[in-house]
Amino acid sequence: MKRVQFSSASLPYLYLLPQLAIIVVFFYWPSVQAIQSSFYLEDPFGFGSTFVGLDNYTDVLESSSYGEIARFTVVFTLLVTFLSLSLALLFAVKADAVLKGSSTYKTLLMWVYAIAPPVAGLMGVMFFDMHIGPFLEVARLVGWDFRIGLNYFDTAFAMVVISVWKQIPYNFIFFLSGLQAIPKSLREAGAIDCRSGFRRFWTITLPLLAPTAFFLLIINMTYALFDTFGIIDVVVKDKAANNPITLVYKVYMDGFRGGDLGGSSAQSVILMFVVFVLTIFQFRFIERRVHYN
């Protein structure tokens, strides 16, 4: 904090009031409600609710579909994170290396950041569409009868591709600025000490990028868990039946469409716990990164 601060009895509260009011009403109230209703069973016709203890949790955790969705969520998250990070890193390293046209490439590779996930989803669905999608013909060449929305694997494939495509720009922006923050003198020292460009990348550039990469790792996991909702919703077109969905999508399906408030809340709380752990990681890391500078 600052060496010198104002001291006033009322002013700081006045400045905080608007933000606090909104947070209390729209964050704490619903969060507490989620936790509370995760211990209750809501009557489907709206006639009150009964306290059921941890039943909602055990129901959720024991159901086979939840396990399957959780497994898919993990695989999906890992794939999206790994693929979008590595492609973005490749492009960032190359964009950093070229002398001519670097800023043009930068613009071309980052602008997709601005496209909303469901819009990206709609575009993707059209590319994989069974009537008009060009991807089908490519797939047919290798004997792959691609059926989005009908075949579990094919749908998952489309989801991953679209999610990765949408996330590359974000990672690219961070990797590139991370690369450009490496002092010129350090690169020159590296060039003197190490002949092989590839080795230099592994032994000098990559370790220096590690803080950025770690930060992105967490962000990408959060992205894959939550922000891909729009993509998934568009791809499954409200017919989740045999299609892969993620845990967040199930929270929405069960709670909002299925009316199972208790079960959905229990799932929310489980997810809260996952994000909580991820964010604690991230916080600890940001603290560390401050020390680097």
Binding site: P18, Q19, F26, P30, Q33, V119, I132, F226, S268
Partner: protein
């Protein structure tokens, strides 16, 4: 030193193509008529129906939605994007100012009250949030769409980081110059935060504009539909139609991405600075 190789350019060109290609195809396809698209698939050529399609999407109601025209949805998206960005900046600047520049007893406590919100994204508490908004009678209103999204600390976190980087001496000089808390905020802190405000405005505008799940739950009345929310409607209409209006759907998608893309490309350097220097 490192010499640029041809393969570097090849990879970058391939990457750029990967990013632009799909969007270009979608745009080009939107200029063909629906029957043609249905028969031949996605197009990589100019179709000549650009004005027809876009005029229809923008000004005529009753395509995918009953009453909302594209223009109406565009306006709603603008209201959501700008309203969210402005609200976020005002709230979070004030909160960050109190946290960084004031010494008060509950300071640390409120800091944690606000920053805990970083732990839980809206998606995990979406159902109870909906219920709260319903209880408050805010369904199908602009404020119901915007205000609950403001309940997070992202902006406050950005500004807190930035304020902490402002040299202490600036406040000290201003105090010796006779500036009180409000004068210092308005005369000094807000003007020197200009670039930061612009950067956050862009990030938040894009974030607000691109909201999908929340507006979808909040608004059943088409008068409040945003463009991104409209995407959902396209899909609902498609289920069960013989020849879907691909061209109009794509035109709507193009409209939905255009404003945020323009903002991000035009104000690229601010945007990148804001994004990377504040650590989210």
């Amino acid at each position: 030193m490192y010499r640029t190789r041809l393969s570097d350019h090849l990879i970058l060109i391939l990457g750029s193509f990967m990013m632009i290609g799909p969007v270009a195809v979608i745009f080009l396809t939107s200029t063909h008529d629906a029957v043609e698209v249905h028969r031949h698939g996605l197009m990589a050529t100019w179709g000549g129906h650009f004005t027809d399609t876009y005029r229809k999407v923008l000004f005529e109601s009753g395509g995918f939605t009953g009453q909302a025209t594209g223009l109406r949805m565009l306006m709603n998206s603008m209201i959501l994007g700008i309203g969210f960005a402005v609200g976020k900046i005002v709230l979070s600047m004030m909160a960050a100012y109190a946290i960084v520049y004031f010494r008060f007893r509950m300071g640390t406590f409120f800091f944690w009250v606000i920053f805990t919100t970083l732990l839980l994204p809206l998606e995990v508490r979406i159902v109870p949030s909906y219920e709260v908004v319903q209880k408050l009678g805010m369904l199908n209103t602009y404020s119901g769409m915007i205000v609950p999204l403001l309940a997070s600390a992202t902006g406050t976190f950005y500004f807190r980081q930035f304020f902490k980087s402002v040299p202490d001496e600036l406040l000290e000089a201003a105090r010796i110059d006779g500036a009180g808390p409000w004068k210092f905020f308005i005369d000094i802190l807000v003007p020197i935060s200009k670039t930061m405000i612009a950067a956050i405005f862009i990030i938040m505008f894009v974030y607000g504009w691109n909201q999908y799940l929340w507006p979808m739950m909040m608004t059943s009345d088409e008068v409040y539909f945003t463009l991104v929310r409209g995407i959902k409607q396209i899909l609902l209409v498609w289920v069960g139609s013989q020849i879907p209006d691909y061209n109009e759907a794509f035109a709507l998608a193009v409209l939905a991405m255009l404003p945020p893309v323009i903002v991000v490309v035009v104000f690229q350097s601010w945007f990148i600075k804001g994004l990377t220097e504040s650590d989210k």
